[in-house]
Subunit: 356 residues, 2 copies
């Protein structure tokens, strides 16, 4: 490492060829005699060549567009985290001459998903990064892209049957299992309640489904007797939600354990705070600002979160390196950490996630 850097020139000399040819074999550009190729490979091997990425990137005049497909959102919703993470990842990719444009779709509208996919296809970027919702369309898209030689990275959740370069996200099933252990690990109760979100258009493939399975599998393994109530809330109807919860807790005053698999645990926290309820054990997901606040004020006990910024940075990076250097990520399915946040560690976490 201390020795002077080996350059293309060095390996050209060693191979008895010109740097042009060296460059050709390095990038599999073809049009090189097999014999020459061998010589170059050998020279690279013996001299221990490593690409100077600064020089490479500087000389590479190409400009790449990455297109990112993800659900639309309003302020403070989960997908906003992802959206912001893209912006942050884009900055990191500046050196690669990459720009990212985002296409959003209403996740509850199959039609919009199809539209978005069409838009993507006509846009024809050099790479795509996608948070998939509808399975079949995603698979089909992946084949389309494959044919065009356009790499695709999954973020957040993945469609295993599709053709993709890499995936970056938490293991969904395990996140549910973890939630169960946090909620029920100590002196388990007889029953608990799961607050869910009322959905009009039913989605066939909801990523949180796997999470629910992880949760119930934990129950089956450890607490087969436990019963679980399901109640439904609405994202934007506070009054309705309060009525639902008032009714529920009036009928089940003994229930103290609450779980929710989506990112809207703050709806429940809001209620808990307003009603001054105590000694509840609430577990939720995702680091929304309102959820952070709920952990801080004690309404939510555990928040399970993923490192959205890291996931997107790595996703974009995988594409950048593929585009610039033709390298494939060492691991295809990258299951990222699930972080557990409580009142005592959340402050140092949230400061981080904003800037890094």
């Amino acid at each position: 490492m201390q020795a002077k850097k080996v350059t293309v020139k060095d390996i050209a000399r060693q191979a008895g060829l010109s740097i042009g040819t060296v460059d050709r074999v390095m990038h599999n550009r073809g049009g090189v005699a097999e014999e020459s190729r061998q010589k170059v490979m050998e020279a690279m091997e013996t001299l221990g060549y490593t690409l100077n990425t600064n020089a490479s990137l500087l000389a590479n005049k190409k400009h790449y567009r990455i297109c990112c497909l993800l659900p639309s959102f309003t302020d403070g919703e989960y997908w906003e985290l992802v959206y912001n993470a893209i912006a942050s990842a884009e900055k990191d990719a500046t050196g690669y001459n990459i720009s990212i444009e985002t296409i959003t779709y209403n996740q509850f509208s199959h039609e919009e998903y199809v539209e978005a996919v069409e838009k993507l296809k006509s846009n024809l970027p050099q790479a795509v990064i996608i948070a998939p919702i509808y399975r079949n369309e995603t698979i089909e898209l992946s084949h389309f892209l494959k044919e065009k030689g356009i790499p695709m990275v999954f973020i957040d959740s993945k469609v295993s049957e599709a053709d993709y370069l890499a995936y970056y996200g938490i293991p969904m099933w395990e996140s549910g299992y973890l939630a169960a252990s946090l909620l029920l690990g100590e002196e388990p109760p007889k029953s608990i309640v799961n607050f869910r979100i009322e959905r009009s258009g039913s989605i066939t493939d909801n990523p949180t489904l796997a999470r629910r399975h992880g949760f119930t599998d934990y129950l089956t393994e450890n607490l087969p007797q436990l019963s679980i109530y399901n109640e439904f809330l609405r994202p934007y109807d506070r009054e309705h939600n309060f009525a639902v919860m008032d009714k529920f807790f009036a009928e089940h005053p003994d229930i103290r354990h609450i779980i929710t698999f989506n990112s809207r645990v703050h709806l429940i926290a809001d209620y808990i705070t307003a009603r001054g309820l105590k000694d509840l054990r609430v577990v939720g997901f995702d680091i929304l600002d309102q959820n952070i606040e709920a952990v801080r004020n004690g309404a939510v006990k555990y928040l399970i979160v993923q490192r959205t910024q890291v996931q997107l940075r790595r996703g974009v990076n995988a594409l950048a390196e593929w585009l610039a250097f033709g390298t494939t990520p060492p691991v295809r399915d990258n299951y990222m950490p699930m972080d557990i946040l409580v009142r005592e560690n959340i402050n140092f976490y949230s400061e981080m996630y904003k800037e890094y």
Copy 2:
């Protein structure tokens, strides 16, 4: 962002000067007429110039040495994590033409610390990164370096009175407070035991001291009645440790809560597993391989860990940018996240920390 990049040439033309002069003002190299300086600044402002780091790094032929001072270690010990993190961070810094050399010292020997500092001084690197143990010597060193214009970054813990560029590490006091809440948050017991490490040479400034304070402050606030036993173990004397613990648990069969503030909770896990003890609640620190194993097999319930790799990457990066571009990190004291690991999330964490 989409527009063609603004280059030094552009701003030279705009300012009516040459790129040489532009470069001089950009890097405060001096020897520029105030009037010219103004023009250049103005041009940079109006055109919205941003440095092309690839080109900058490529053209910059300087080679920098960073010297890293940290405690010595044997296989599987805490400081090995830091040592490995340095190697990983060094790779990231390749593009900056930076190499890192490490000086280690026996943390229990004041003399060795002084020696190490002397070695560092005679070595005279372009930047230093240090895990400090002895307060006064560190302060003095910081002044020495300040005079030479050599930046210093603290890792792991910091000496507030010193003169330093930045700090990257977890908040120690808070880590103890967190440990207390995890250990005692549910149905607190009457007494607990703290297993400590026997130290021959007493260190005046042990970073884990702050951690202990965080812990006891939690007790004072929440459980003033709780009593805490202190027992002492030895790092490499299994037989002795087993005797200590046998004796302790024979005398205090009711105690089920165990805390330790150093990284050697695996000593206790080893005992617990060997004796087949059940239903203990053990909280420890740091992601040593043996600690991971202890969490996996259930001997340790909570492991509080820091992101050593990230901390070092950021520390090295801060120095790299200072050296290459003269930029100062936006935040000086960077308190990094404390991660909570349990059996259900540790697998996805540990895979990460190895490679990333």
